[in-house]
Subunit: 397 residues, 2 copies
Amino acid sequence: MIELRFDPKKGIWAEKEDADRLRNNSFGEQKGDKLWLTPEEALYVVDLQNGQVRYGKKSLGFSDLLAEFARKEPRLMVKYNAYRDWRDRGLIIKRSFGSSKGNKRASHVKKYPAKEMKMPKAGARLVWDRTSAMGVIEDPEVSGRLFSDWWLGQVGVYKQERGSILKLNFFETVLLAEHFGLKVLDAETGKTITAKKIMDGVAEKREFAKTMYQAYEDWRLNGYIVKTGFKFGTHFRIYFPGASPTKGGSGDKWVHSKHVLHVFPKEEKLLISEWARAVRVAHGVKKTFILGMPKLTRKDYVDYPADFVAYRRKKVGKDWIRETPKDGARYLLAAVSEEEHIGGQELASLLKKAELMNLNLILSITDRETAITYYALNKINLKGAKYDYYEIEWMRP
Amino acid sequence: MIELRFDPKKGIWAEKEDADRLRNNSFGEQKGDKLWLTPEEALYVVDLQNGQVRYGKKSLGFSDLLAEFARKEPRLMVKYNAYRDWRDRGLIIKRSFGSSKGNKRASHVKKYPAKEMKMPKAGARLVWDRTSAMGVIEDPEVSGRLFSDWWLGQVGVYKQERGSILKLNFFETVLLAEHFGLKVLDAETGKTITAKKIMDGVAEKREFAKTMYQAYEDWRLNGYIVKTGFKFGTHFRIYFPGASPTKGGSGDKWVHSKHVLHVFPKEEKLLISEWARAVRVAHGVKKTFILGMPKLTRKDYVDYPADFVAYRRKKVGKDWIRETPKDGARYLLAAVSEEEHIGGQELASLLKKAELMNLNLILSITDRETAITYYALNKINLKGAKYDYYEIEWMRP
């Protein structure tokens, strides 16, 4: 049994042997002869460490404490649950006070290769069906080359060798018109249309079309093949430079993409559950999930709560032992719930905060039955990219 | 070679032997001595049936035709692509003119069992943390009973036998407060709070909370266990009446849910790709996807284009042969693209239209590289439900 004492004006603390036991287990903060606990630490001790709370002559239970603390502490059960789960894995987690500095290993930045896209002028006419956001090139020589050499568009029928018409989507059409001299005829007006006008037309109906295109262009101009990620529930799937629909990596087998790319505009707000759904599909098909976000300017940053710094394990001799505050933290941990929202701007701000603290960012998502899912975000280094990119990994601490 | 003739004032047609060949293959509509084709039929004949088009002395290609037709026919490439894919599977598909009547088999309505939820009064106090949208019951007798007998909330730690505190989410809290006499204490104010106030508080931050609750209640009051579907990327997972977290179906094994439930409010508009993502996760984990939607009133109905009626195969003797318009259609097929939007109201209107035509609804989704994914929607019969429910099945025609 561990005894805690509570006073609504002062807080909650332990004394003497109880304080020693808790301190040795990295709970609380010592001031004078008392070890002061945060609300989630106190709730944890009561819920799972056989703690008892005395308030004058009364004894308080978990729900009494919750009723006391939740008055001043927003989102307490969400934070408590994140805290509980990390602790339950035998690991240490502490409130973040913004000043903690981590021990981040440089290896967390992933370097992606880049190869400039050097393509001759397209030199053909494309007929653009605005209301379908799809265009057609009929010239068989140009169609064949765009498709075989650059995997732009789709000749004939997907994964079949039938038909010779090349169908291009709006990303491909804009890319070719903008960078490779493609002439586009607007079917509705019968006149030539510019890359900008095509994009403006799509953006009227499809929110965030320009942001999506920017990410598409970042990867395409770096030599990557970027196709729809529809079958994987994401915006794009990505093949590394050199892939083609006809020439496989080994032999003549179909090349499978290993990465999917999802774009998160800074103006967009998503339910955490929707955000997680996108990552989950990619994980289910064993692909690396890449999140793309516009770079923020100073005025874009917002203060989104990142509640905890978290520690993991280190190898000492042959054993893995848990790290303590002396080792420096590894992670900045943001506790969120399934039903809350996160915006592109907020996520980018969290990532920036983690970077400044020398920590990796983890989202700890508590679902409606208090199970936790963790996602770690690692920065990608892609040469000359206009946006920021992160690998998002499902993790088990 | 099939010869077609085009006149911008009249349309596109075939004559003589060419008309006979096309008519026998269920293309076009005969008027006098000409067989008139719809734009997508003409594009298909040119793209994949070796068709040639004469316009006076000129010869027109696929992209010329597209440029001619797209002027008056919105979303032509999306429709063409849906048409092409169904035809490519050796099956017949025709424009829907609203009056076609189908041959729908009654078996498409799925009946789900129902068992009234008869629970004694909860008789305990719950402390409600509004900003976490989560509450806590400490009374071990009540906690244990709610969890074991009704699988309401989560005792201690998910899938572990530790801790005794019951945590309830807002659906569960509202259900118990509304129907089973649970007393709820608002931690922030220290006062009792009603089911309605709890719901109103959640609805301020969580869009569509009331719509979600309604679906939750429909299934719960019919005896189903309804838990979060977070791990499967949907709103809820569902267990049939009788399931519990401790008593498995056979022996003492963990019961796996076989159904997930997603709620589509009529005011919500989703990108088709986002809508499909939700269905896709469920399919990936081999669960039946159930879509829940509020019932529409007369004024809610909108005219969302359902472009085609589609035919499949029938068994004649030992062979499966394709059905023709003489057999009556099976499906109302709506052609949409990855980048378009669909609202709850629009989908419900489509479902109503299909029902009135005696057809099953299929969404044919064309992705950015013209591959097609099909989803069929079958109505669910759930006793006394306030909403409409549909099973959504990925299908391959």
